[in-house]
């Protein structure tokens, strides 16, 4: 019952907003963050609560469109290291998750335990951005998945607090389990206050990218 409610809530949010895996996955102590991603492989929603400056715990729902697999999981994320400078910030995160994966095979619903681990790293100034994200997911009898994605970003101007910030970004991803293993997605990132919106289009595996993050 709880799983059903959780799923309905996350799917509902997914329909309203979409977000990014590259938005910081740990917020301030006591803060909530909604991160939703929609790309060539999947649509996913993650709602997390930051318990401490280096730990968040969230509920994740992911729909992998190609295989029509639905993943529901609990996802903790650790900020392992943050490097501070006057003009830059860099972060190293580790995440994991455990839950269930469901897929209909031959008209029969199959359910498996899903486990995954991930690593994220980024370096950012007010006008330059570099990031990497990797994830290994085990779906039991439904297979394994490995994903790598890297980004480069440039802001044509430095917006001040509360102003609209605009970034031009290029994302390259590699997904071994997909027909088009490597793909390139140019995108625009818009950033204002607690909200972040990304819009792009995958050139190699034609499909839109639409991400959204909101902190509250």
């Amino acid at each position: 019952m709880i799983k059903t409610i959780l799923r309905i809530a996350l799917v509902s949010m997914s329909l309203i907003v979409c977000a990014t895996a590259f938005a910081r996955p740990v917020s301030y102590a006591g803060g909530w963050t909604l991160i939703e991603t929609s790309n060539r492989a999947s649509s996913a929603g993650l709602l997390h609560y930051t318990m401490n400056y280096n730990l968040s715990v969230g509920a994740r729902y992911e729909w992998q469109r190609g295989s029509n697999t639905r993943v529901t999981a609990i996802q903790p994320t650790f900020l392992a290291k943050r490097w501070f400078g006057r003009d830059y910030q860099a972060n190293l995160y580790f995440s994991g998750g455990i839950g269930t994966a469901e897929r209909k095979i031959g008209g029969i619903e199959s359910s498996e335990t899903v486990k995954f681990v991930g690593v994220m790293a980024d370096w950012e100034t007010r006008s330059l951005f570099v990031s990497y994200e990797g994830r290994r997911m085990n779906l039991g009898q439904l297979g394994n998945q490995t994903m790598h994605a890297a980004r480069l970003g440039w802001a044509p101007y430095e917006g001040d607090t509360g102003a609209l910030h605009t970034w031009l970004m290029l994302e390259v991803d590699h997904r071994k389990h997909m027909d088009e293993r490597t793909s390139v997605t140019p995108l625009l990132r818009f950033f204002k206050g607690p909200a972040l919106l990304e819009v792009g289009y995958n050139l190699s595996d034609p499909s839109p990218l639409f991400n959204f993050t909101y902190r509250f």
Partner: protein, 170 residues
């Protein structure tokens, strides 16, 4: 799936890395100039306040790291309508140099954490100056240690704190 187990353990162990950094003390200095491409670097020796030093008892004001040609004037308080109104009501200005402030999420985090405090009459995070600007209610106090702790809760680190005249540029 066995491959994932060591990775997850490594992830859990890695959480201590940030805590190690937190043990580094804020660098406090007495002059009014500063500049650092990276204020996180060491200057050879930590300053020593002696055996009787009580970290929470004294106020640390402006800092000075003189790197010759790179020196610049420490940032003063940024005036917004809210800041100016709070100052006009007798509030005390505080300017905090914060490391790693590069985006609006940083500003949002500090706004959320500091605005919960009753002592804070007004707040503004200036991304251009990389400063957290506070006005403390007349009759209230927020110590350097408390500010440092709140910044840590927001996920950031303090480089220096200036108060009163130094915060106003006087």
């Amino acid at each position: 799936m066995n491959k994932t187990v060591p990775l997850f353990i490594a992830a859990a162990l890695a959480t201590s890395a940030f805590a190690d950094d937190d043990k580094q003390e804020m660098k406090h200095h007495g002059d009014g100039q500063m500049n650092h491409a990276d204020m996180n670097h060491a200057h050879g020796a930590e300053h020593d306040h002696g055996a009787n030093h009580e970290p929470e008892s004294h106020e640390h004001h402006a800092m000075a790291h003189d790197h010759g040609d790179m020196a610049m004037i420490a940032a003063t308080i940024t005036h917004t309508n809210e800041i100016s109104a709070a100052l006009a009501n007798g509030g005390a200005p505080v300017v905090v140099d914060v490391l790693g402030v590069v985006c609006d999420f940083c500003a949002t985090a500090m706004n959320k954490v500091f605005s919960k405090r009753d002592e804070v009459a007004a707040i503004y995070v200036d991304l251009d100056k990389k400063t957290l600007n506070l006005v403390i209610n007349d009759g209230s106090d927020l110590s350097d240690k408390q500010i440092e702790k709140l910044a840590k809760q927001a996920g950031y680190r303090i480089a220096a704190i200036r108060r009163d005249n130094e915060a106003m540029g006087g």
